[in-house]
Amino acid sequence: MSPRLGLLALFVTGLAPAVAAASDAVPSDSAAGEARLDPDSVGVPGFGVVFEGGAEEQRVSGRAALRYGAFALDGTLSGANVDTTTGRSVLFDSLDARPKGRVALGLTWTSFAIHDYADVLDQVEKLCEEQAAEEARAAEASLAEDEAYAEAKKNADARGLAGAEATKRAQDLAMALAAATTAVGEADRQEAEAVTRAKGALAEVERRSVEVGALAGAKDKERTKALADAERALAAARAAVAVATLDVTLAAERATRARLDVALAEARATEAARTLEFAKSAAESADLALEAERRRVLDLRPSGCAASTLTPEREARVVWPFHPTYIAALRGAVSSMRTEFFDPVTATKARESSHPWKMSVGVGTFLVPTMLLAATLSYGRTRVIGDASLLCEELPVETRVDGAGPFTTCGDITLGQPLWTQSTALRFEHRQYLTTGLSTNPSFTYSWSGEETGPFAPSQGAYRFEVPVYLRASLGAADDKALVVGAAYAHEGTWGAPQNETRDDVTLFFGGGFDIGAL
């Protein structure tokens, strides 16, 4: 398995978890990941940018994550847009000036990943092979007893035999055609020879006729003898012509007969070829029918194998790692913040860098496939600083050089030395996974904080009730792009404190995501 980025997303949404872990009295993050940025079941986005427009302040957060199996490493950069004291935009300047800005690094582990099931898959693979071998043996045995298969086999055998006979007949006819063709050639040759002989005999007759004519002027005795010889020769020549002419006629008749034989043989060969083609086609059809029957009996359709397709006995042998409808998640986050503050004890301005951290553990169970009921317990160290507005009200921090004053001014600075506190939170949520259409993720968080030394006072804490509602639209043929718009209502308050305070906030968010593929 190689590292991969799962989804590149651009979201406009609420607080990033790591930031919330560091600064909020009531952390709002879940160990299972940030629901608003969660593109699938138990994952994290490849990259996200978050923006919050709330009633009291605006905050921009950017978040990127890298997935490796069950682990996800994410980084967050966040800054507030509005300084509540001065009212001016301080955005990322706030990283240096006020504790509104954070950089944070988080590591999340979720229990559902394929490598956790590697052993299960090995078991299933072996059981599948075992079952397939057993089924094949049983099917082969049933094959011999199947009437339909026997009939198909009989038909295929008969078709095969017919095909073989057709092939032999076609071969015989091909040989007959070859012999007839040879006979035509021989007849043509004999006819040509007979024509040649007839022509020679005719020429001889003509020569003898000339000789007979030439003897007409010779002496009587000699002429009579020569004439008799010439006439005999002429008669012989004429007889030869007659014989040759007869040969030519006979040869021509033989050639004609031979050609008729060839035509007949060709017709038979054509018919034989058709018969052979038909026989082959029939044999192939019979073979296909036989194979189909074999597949039917053996159930050889191409298929995958899963635990659910195993026999109950085999399925019972599969040892699962844990009940699959439960998931577990762990998350650790560390952030970095720089704070400029005024220490009234020493009457000096100072800067410091601190690294709040938080650990979360969560468990969840799926009520239905798309609804998770989860609980997250978190503990962390939080850097707490005073309220900047106090600086305006209580302390003169500047005296002008012209001697005027002293007078009070509102500096962009925090009063008092930051203190480390510890914070524990318990969050319950009902997560409806983002599908096309409307979904929601209501949560209730109870948190209590205290200085690092001294007793915890869980009876005095703060609570937060939040109801985000999302509207998500899928884009792309493979549903690999999505747009999300939504709003979240949050109600926060203290519990058990001498002076209970409450606060309501509404956050609007929108965003989108798309796949950037595997690395």
Binding site: V42, A113, E125, A307, S308, L372, T436, R472, D479
Partner: protein, 90 residues
């Protein structure tokens, strides 16, 4: 080079899949999760998957692209299932 598309579709809460033991970056919304794998050439490969959800829920695994098209429906008998499918890239 051939691309094979793997789709897991149905009622499930969690899913994960791999080809030749390399995890697939399944993406998608709701009940349809898909990934496309590129192969350098012809050869035999193995798809493995794990799915969880409500007992009795059904899901479908589909292969398409540079391989023989295949699709099969499975049932989450105990709310979970793990399976495999060998396929040949053309």
């Amino acid at each position: 080079m051939g691309d094979v598309k793997v789709v897991l579709k149905g009622s499930f809460s969690n899913r994960d899949a791999s080809v030749d033991d390399r995890a697939l970056p399944l993406v998608g919304t709701g009940a349809a999760q898909s990934a496309t794998v590129s192969f350098a050439g012809p050869g035999a490969h193995k798809l493995k998957w794990v799915v969880t959800g409500a007992p009795g829920a059904k899901y479908t695994v589909t292969l398409s692209g540079a391989t023989d098209a295949w699709s099969q429906e499975f049932t989450l008998k105990g709310g979970r299932d793990a399976g495999l499918k060998s396929f040949q890239v053309k």
